[in-house]
């Protein structure tokens, strides 16, 4: 059977499963839509949260970014898991006790101000839209490969599918669909990793295989650790070593911190903890969510390192000092079929620049390699394009795994990208129609008009995300990281101060959120271009060229500190919070008396 047919089969079967479960579960109760998770066991809720949370960034993009930089991109691993500690300790139990459904409602009530609620809604829309752009990048990659068409066509078709999926909507809220999505997603991620780990190290657990010795059959020489071998061959080709640090500590710390705080500030994650049955369940749920996320995150670094090793060895089949792979081999040998399929998407390419019939893959920007290249008549790196976002999806093909594994990965990648993109679109549309229009601007609008405006908001959001996704500000995970920076600078500080301080007042919170969001957004636009339009940036997007020597992906942590400082300073110089707000904060801090979450 053709690989295309097998992919179609797996993708079709997984979607039939989700829809089947959605229909079966919906028959029971329609109110599940908002209250997904109520009366659901913390373990089940944790699994559903994990599916909600792990998107194209985690599934498709992250391991590729780690593969090509190694240690420096550990920030993604630490940042996107460390945020759950903040969530569990500082937010989840108290927001559950507060007992409403949305983040902006808490901010509006705690800071006794419709303006604060409005500002929170704006922060939410800005962060979520940026997040969707990152997802669309992943959607484009997944559809392009799956339908064997160009990345651009894949993105456009994907956008239509995401829109339909989001309008169908309710599916998102059904916990058991998300549990099914999680199972497909984690199997699709780990099964190929187990195969590859066995091939390379003989260890069936990829996370342990990463720190094991390579099989002597493949490695050739007795006992060499996988990471040592990887370091050896990448430095041989003039690339930066895999395990050493090459980024300055300040940027790495701030970037990691941004991702952590952002995780705890993203509305669609926080919302899941509003609706667990009890305050104590909110604490456990965060832990279980991280357990299920960790299954993927402990495997991701192994996927990255092993793929990098496999790719490099395919390009240099006789070792880094031997002959490079020939064009003829790439065209005829079935182990190189994946290069042809991915070439169709326009995300992978090679070119025999010096016409010697071989494809030399090396770092042509390295001074050390210049001499060797000169001596061998190389005229630059001939493996000209390898988009980081294709690595995870291409991984099973690179390792020559059975075709059913490749089909499974296609299904997993689409599930990850679609579910999160659709979920974010729902969050944006309800923010616009419910919080912004109905709550603020036109309180008397009919339910029908509210529904209509929700659809329009959704269509506008996906249109914006698709247009910007055609020329994304970075790889999927990098764009998503910007969204986390925006959430970190705006939402998280307001929530935390709302719970841990009784002194922060309405004016302080609004000033804090606006300055945090404003600073971070302007800083990102200065480096990535205004509204992410390429060429309109004032500073190059590199560490050395950046305004404060801080990368745009890491600035969210600074924005958060500004938010805290401004809110505190302004509050101290304005009227104290009223007594009923102090009472509200006191009651949020104690679990006793928590009722069910109530609708608004």
């Amino acid at each position: 059977m053709e690989q295309f047919t097998i992919n179609l089969l797996f993708v079709g079967a997984s979607f039939a499963l989700y829809i089947g479960i959605a229909i079966w579960a919906r028959a029971g109760s329609t109110s599940e839509f908002y209250a997904a998770g109520r009366g659901v066991h913390p373990v089940t809720n944790g699994m559903a949260t994990a599916a909600d949370w792990m998107s194209a960034a985690s599934f498709i993009s992250m391991a590729g970014l780690i593969a090509f930089t190694g240690y420096d991109n550990s920030s993604f691993l630490m940042g996107w898991t460390g945020g759950y500690v903040l969530l569990a300790l500082l937010l989840a139990p108290y927001l559950r006790k507060f007992g409403k459904f949305t983040v902006s409602e808490f901010i509006g009530d705690r800071f006794y101000s419709p303006t604060a609620r409005l500002v929170a809604v704006i922060c939410l829309i800005v962060a979520s839209t940026t997040y969707v752009i990152g997802q669309m990048t992943g959607v484009g990659v997944a559809f392009g490969r799956f339908l064997e068409i160009s990345n651009t066509s894949g993105l456009l078709i994907g956008a239509c599918v995401v829109f339909a999926y989001a309008v169908f909507g309710g599916m998102k809220g059904v916990t058991y669909t998300q549990v099914a999505q999680y199972v497909v997603l984690i199997l699709a991620y780990t099964i190929p990793a187990v195969f590859i780990s066995l091939q390379l190290t003989g260890n069936a657990i990829p996370g342990l295989g990463l720190f094991s010795e390579v099989n002597s059959a493949t490695g050739g020489e007795g006992s060499v650790y996988l990471l040592q071998k990887l370091d050896q061959i990448v430095t041989d080709l003039g690339f930066a070593s895999y395990t050493e640090a090459h980024k300055d500590n300040l940027n790495m710390v701030l970037f990691t911190l941004s991702l952590m705080i952002g995780t705890a500030g993203l509305p669609h994650v926080i919302m899941r903890f509003f609706t667990v049955p009890k305050v104590s369940d909110a604490r456990w749920s965060a832990g279980w969510a991280l357990v299920f996320i960790a299954l993927l995150y402990l495997t991701a670094p192994a996927v990255g390192a092993m793929a990098r090793l496999n790719i490099t060895e395919l390009m240099w089949p006789n070792g880094t000092n031997g002959e490079a792979v020939s064009v003829e081999t790439i065209d005829t040998d079935e182990r190189y079929n994946w290069m042809q399929t991915w070439q169709k998407t326009g995300l992978l390419d090679w070119e025999d620049k010096n016409g010697d019939g071989k494809i030399q893959y090396y770092n042509d920007k390295s001074d050390a390699m210049a001499e060797k290249a000169e001596a061998n008549g190389w005229q630059g790196n001939e493996f000209t394009k390898f988009n980081r976002d294709i690595l995870v999806l291409a991984n099973p093909e690179i390792a020559n795994l059975p075709s059913w594994v490749i089909g499974l990965v296609a299904a997993g990648g689409l599930a990850a990208a679609l579910s999160t993109a659709a979920g974010l679109l729902l969050a944006i549309s309800s923010a616009v129609s419910h919080d912004l229009l109905k709550g603020q601007l036109t309180p008397n609008m009919s339910e029908k008009a509210e529904l209509m405006s929700a659809r329009i908001a959704m269509a506008v959001a996906i249109l914006v995300a698709t247009i910007l996704g055609l020329n994304p500000p970075g790889f999927a995970a990098q764009t998503v990281a910007l969204a986390f920076g925006l959430a970190a600078a705006s939402i998280f500080p307001a929530l935390m101060m709302g719970i841990f301080s009784t002194r922060i007042n309405n004016v302080g919170a609004v000033a804090g959120m606006l300055s945090g969001l404003g600073f971070t957004l302007v800083y990102i636009f200065l480096h990535k271009g205004w509204l992410f339009i390429a060429g309109t940036n004032s500073f190059p997007d590199t560490v050395d060229g950046s305004l404060f020597g801080i990368q745009s992906t890491a600035i969210g942590a600074v924005g958060a500190m500004i938010n805290f400082a401004v809110a505190y300073a302004v509050s101290l110089n304005t009227a104290d919070t009223p007594q009923e707000i102090k009472d509200l904060v006191e009651s949020v801090r104690v679990p006793a008396g928590a009722g069910e979450a109530v609708d608004h």
């Binding site: 630490m78 500690v85 569990a88 990463l210 010795e213 710390v253 104590s280």
Partner: protein
């Protein structure tokens, strides 16, 4: 132990647990994983040093331990202070 519920004593105890947990939360990734990595480079793990392992896997395991410890400790505090649901 559950006498009259005293919210302020409960809150103080909670803050103490949070403080200890967050110190560990910060030291492991930012300390062992990034800033102090050169100092720990002598400790070898699977072909690389401890800092690399902490940055790529160790931190995640520590985060898990912190969350489960906190949930367990707080549920106990809830009962001790008579403020459980």
């Amino acid at each position: 132990m559950s006498e009259q519920p005293d919210p302020s004593a409960y809150w103080k105890a909670n803050l103490r647990v949070i403080k200890i947990s967050l110190i560990i939360w910060a030291i492991v990734p930012f300390g062992f994983g990034i800033l102090l990595r050169p100092l720990l480079s002598g400790i070898e793990i699977g072909g690389t040093d401890l800092g690399f392992w902490v940055a790529q896997q160790g931190s995640i395991l520590v985060f898990l331990a912190i969350i489960f410890f906190y949930a367990w400790r707080m549920n106990k505090l809830d009962r001790e202070h008579g403020v459980e649901e």
